[in-house]
């Protein structure tokens, strides 16, 4: 017993890190920029690793360098920090030594827990699902079990932890309940997600060969066999090298103790589960195909932490009183949100409103287009009353507003507005003619229907037209007319008789009556049209 202990003590912390156990815990989830010292313990220094190398404090061959923060996926920083947090001796996830033989025999779970106390050779630093979920909920303030389970699943799928001795893949794997009996270990930091390292096909091939030789209790699945045969074809000329390297690795491992063998096997298995191309990726069997899209040109990532200091506090007191602009902005946003809830199909409290997407049968459920003859829908109409822009964008709204303006003898305003808006997005070749026609009809005093703008604006527009004819030539006049319509005609619009009548007679999308007889529902129909099983989103197991 004592021999074992001293050996343990001699095991360098570095080796522990390689096995996935990190010792030193930073003071906060954001790793501070403290000195990176191998003697103190292996910590993940995420920031300024280049500086460390330059100053000679860290060795380039350090495993930690491979953890160099990939600038784009800042999620990896957070996950790494979370993992370090988890591995804290007292406040992290409680681990135990798992008897790996017992893992094979799933029937004796209860006995394992008792036996684990006296284990001599077992797999160190394993933890149960329950413990993991409990810890996540506590540290990250998650109320819901499902959420914590999902986060744990994501930790596994991104490659930070892995279940021991379980055949799993990144598509189907799910920690569905906190009381599951799975056992997990931390993935070694060398294998953590890293965007600057691309796993090679050769490595994938040698891994698969090793699994073929000895799968440590987890049989190869269909996809792995297919991958292996594909790689054989693709890497024909290198195959000898690959087989040789696989043999060397196997013989090396044979010399290690059984628990190390298992750890190594599980680690590699987990790593390749995450890195290998997804099964639906049909054309090439490339391990690099975990492409995340086009390479982004990002500036070098520097996350400087906000250091609250006493000086800032002083400045707080002498600062100006809270800006009124912000309050008015917030007020504006809140009032518009609350007002518009009436026309929001997700938040509407009106029972009679029928959302066509919620119907279970498609026939006749889609509401017909609102045309001039049918009149607008109620929600549509309400939106006109709330926002001038909504009114102007909508075809029917334009018609209704035109009628309103006719009573006020100012319908040319609307016509001018619409033409100018069209001009903004008109095709290039029509530009000249359009500008001329708008000018001659609306702006020029000799025109058919001149709009009511003051002489100052008129002269400004004329000047604009002489210097450059762009699509924004009439903007001054447009703004003037828009404000005029909004403050004048539109103000009277919602209280006008016309609008009130339209709102009264507005139609509401009707809920279709239940169809009689056996008419095929959409989900049944689709099963005939496409191959394979069509998953129906609405008929779960309960709706029968």
């Amino acid at each position: 017993m004592s021999k074992k202990l001293s050996q343990e003590a001699l095991r360098t912390q570095w080796q522990k890190a390689l096995e996935g156990v990190l010792l030193k815990r930073p003071t906060d989830l954001i790793v501070d920029n403290s000195t990176f010292d191998l003697n103190d313990g292996v910590i993940i220094d995420i920031k300024d690793l280049e500086d460390q190398v330059e100053n000679g404090k860290a060795d380039t061959s350090d495993v930690a360098i491979n953890l160099k923060h990939p600038p784009r996926q800042s999620v990896y920083t957070k996950l790494s920090a979370l993992l370090v947090e988890m591995q804290h001796e007292t406040e992290g996830v409680q681990t135990f030594r798992q008897n790996f033989r017992a893992l094979r025999d799933t029937s004796c779970k209860v006995n394992c827990k008792e036996r684990e106390k006296n284990q001599k050779d077992g797999v160190p630093d394993a933890f149960w699902t329950t413990e993991l979920i409990r810890w996540l909920k506590q540290v990250l303030n998650i109320e819901c079990d499902l959420e914590a389970c999902h986060l744990a699943t994501m930790l596994c799928k991104t490659g930070y932890i892995y279940p021991c001795n379980v055949q799993w893949n990144t598509v189907n794997f799910k920690i569905s309940e906190p009381d599951g009996n799975m056992v997990f270990r931390y993935q070694t930091p060398f294998y953590w997600p890293n965007e600057s390292q691309f796993p090679l096909d050769q490595d994938h091939a040698s891994h698969l060969l090793m699994r073929e030789a000895n799968n440590h209790g987890i049989p190869m699945d269909e996809y792995e066999i297919m991958c292996l045969s594909r790689l054989k074809k693709v890497l024909k000329h290198q195959w000898d090298c690959i087989t040789q390297s696989a043999l060397t690795q196997t013989s090396f491992l044979e010399g290690c103790c059984p628990s190390d063998q298992y750890i190594n096997a599980w680690q590699n298995y987990a790593f390749w589960r995450v890195r290998r191309p997804p099964a639906y990726y049909k054309y090439i069997c490339k391990a690099e195909s975990c492409l995340n899209g086009p390479n982004r040109n990002f500036p070098s990532f520097t996350e400087t932490s906000i250091v609250p200091s006493a000086e800032n506090d002083k400045e707080k007191k002498t600062a100006m009183s809270p800006s009124k602009i912000l309050t008015s902005s917030c007020k504006r946003i809140i009032t518009s949100c609350l007002e518009r809830e009436e026309i929001d199909p997700f938040l509407i409290k009106d029972e009679s409103f029928f959302n066509p997407w919620k119907s279970e049968t498609i026939r006749n459920a889609w509401p017909k287009e609102a045309t001039e003859s049918t009149g607008p829908y109620k929600l549509q109409c309400k939106a006109w009353g709330m926002s001038f822009d909504a009114l102007l964008k909508d075809e029917l709204g334009q018609l209704t507003f035109e009628k309103h303006l006719k009573k006020e003898f100012s319908e040319e305003n609307l016509a001018f507005y619409l033409d100018c808006i069209y001009l903004r997005s008109a095709p290039l070749k029509e530009l000249e003619d359009l500008i001329q026609s708008i000018f001659s009809e609306f702006i020029s005093p000799n025109g058919a229907t001149p709009v009511n703008i003051d002489t100052q604006t008129l002269n400004a527009v004329k000047a604009e037209m002489k210097t450059k004819t762009t699509r924004f030539v009439f903007d001054l006049a447009l703004e003037h007319i828009y404000k005029l319509m909004k403050k004048d005609s539109y103000k009277r619009f919602p209280s006008s008789k016309l609008f009130k009548e339209t709102l009264e007679t507005a139609i509401v999308p009707q809920k279709p009556e239940k169809e009689k007889g056996k008419l095929p529902k959409i989900w049944r129909l689709s099963q005939f049209l496409t191959k394979g099983k069509e998953e129906d989103p609405e008929r779960g197991e309960n709706n029968k």
Binding site: R72, T304, E315, S323, I333, I334, P345, F346, I362, D475
Partner: protein, 379 residues
């Protein structure tokens, strides 16, 4: 400041950069001290939103990751593009495919539906944005001008009358050419203009017919990931967000950046306007959604949670603006209350990253596309 020694020059630049970062942080801190989470304080009074969504349709048809989607103004059709170069037009309500376009390029990052519903634009790694005609096109959505002398008529190469049984690639029109990949494209208020955002750091406005560059907008220091046009027709503004963590507001007349905001800690993946056009939200890789107000010229809200670690690919508002939907990399769609800042819900359904999310034009449903090759419509 020419320094003969290259080493000290680079250190001085690094030092300057650090100083600039520190100053920026201090500036943001000062701004924060003046107004801390005001919106959420004021939003504490209104009732809590009770919103439950279920997946109503699952659209299966892509054989690879779905990268982008867009609704048609008829509220029923969707165009979606994927990594294998296929662009599909769906009738969402009937859950059927209407048209398939196969592009020779992979990673079609962006696709958009024209307002009339008669053409679609798509672009990606080929650095080009092309416009294709849509087979089933009805003129009822073309929105004829009511009382004006000019009428909107589809003139030019892209029209349904040109659709014949010939190859779709012959009917395509190459509109935009950038020097790097296209990350976002959208039609402006008509079928004749396209706004594109590209990985070369610029946004550009193009005329569809002549494929001419009308206006280009430079100012971002790295890739632009998304651009969105102001929903108000009179608004000449559009917003863009990029990998330099900045969200910029541009004036289309002057091609200048009129406002810029930098409070995110990582790339901005998506920008969307608030329905009234006075504020906008951005979603980023740093797992936060932030809302900026134009008039107040600052960030007014930040939607984040300690347990949410994964980045956001896409955000959208509901019609009222009360709800924000975020498409996250942890396979979930998280639903936030805009004025309270709390998370209402998380929608589970996708089996891989949710890459795009869009609200339908009338707000009755929203669609999300994911790397698990499916699209889901929720209501």
């Amino acid at each position: 400041m020419a320094n003969p020694k290259a080493g000290s020059q680079s250190t001085s630049i690094a030092e300057l950069r650090k100083e600039a970062d520190q100053l920026r942080i201090k500036l943001n801190e000062d701004r924060k001290n003046l107004d801390d989470a005001k919106l959420f304080e004021m939003g504490a009074k209104p009732d809590i939103v009770n919103y439950q969504a279920r997946c109503r349709r699952i659209l299966k048809g892509h054989s690879s990751k779905v990268l982008d989607l867009d609704w048609s103004l008829d509220k029923r059709r969707i165009v979606s593009s994927s990594q294998d170069g296929k662009v599909l037009v769906w009738d969402c309500f009937a859950a059927s495919k209407e048209q398939l376009i196969s592009l020779p390029t992979t990673w079609v990052n962006a696709c958009a539906f024209a307002p009339s519903g008669c053409s679609i634009a798509c672009g990606g790694l080929d650095n080009k944005c092309c416009v294709f005609p849509v087979n089933a096109c009805s003129y009822s959505n073309s929105g004829s001008n009511v009382a004006g002398s000019a009428t909107i008529r589809p003139s030019g190469a892209v029209g349904p009358s040109d659709v014949c049984s010939g190859s779709i690639m012959q009917q395509r029109k190459v509109v935009a050419m950038h020097t790097s990949y296209i990350s976002a494209c959208s039609f402006t208020h008509s079928d004749y203009q396209i706004l594109t955002a590209s990985g070369d750091g610029s946004c550009a406005l193009w005329d569809v017919e002549s494929s001419q560059l009308l206006q280009s907008f430079h100012g971002h220091q790295s890739d632009v990931m998304d651009a969105a046009l102001n929903p108000m027709e009179t608004g000449n503004l559009f917003i863009s967000g990029g990998c330099d963590k900045r969200a910029c507001v541009w004036d289309m007349r002057t091609a200048k950046c009129v406002q810029s905001f930098q409070t995110h800690k990582s790339d901005i993946n998506s920008v969307r306007w608030f329905p009234t056009g006075e504020a906008f939200a951005t979603g980023s890789d740093d797992a936060t959604i932030r809302m900026y107000d134009l008039r107040a010229d600052r960030e007014i809200a930040c939607y984040e949670k300690k347990s949410i670690l994964f980045g956001i690919n896409s955000v959208d508002f509901s019609v009222s603006g009360r709800i924000i939907f975020g498409a996250y990399n942890d396979y979930l769609v998280h639903v936030w209350d805009t004025i309270k800042g709390t998370k209402i819900n998380s929608l589970l359904g996708h089996e891989n990253r949710v890459s795009c999310l869009k609200m339908s034009p009338d707000g009755t449903a929203f669609c999300s596309g994911s790397w698990d090759t499916t699209l889901r419509v929720w209501a």
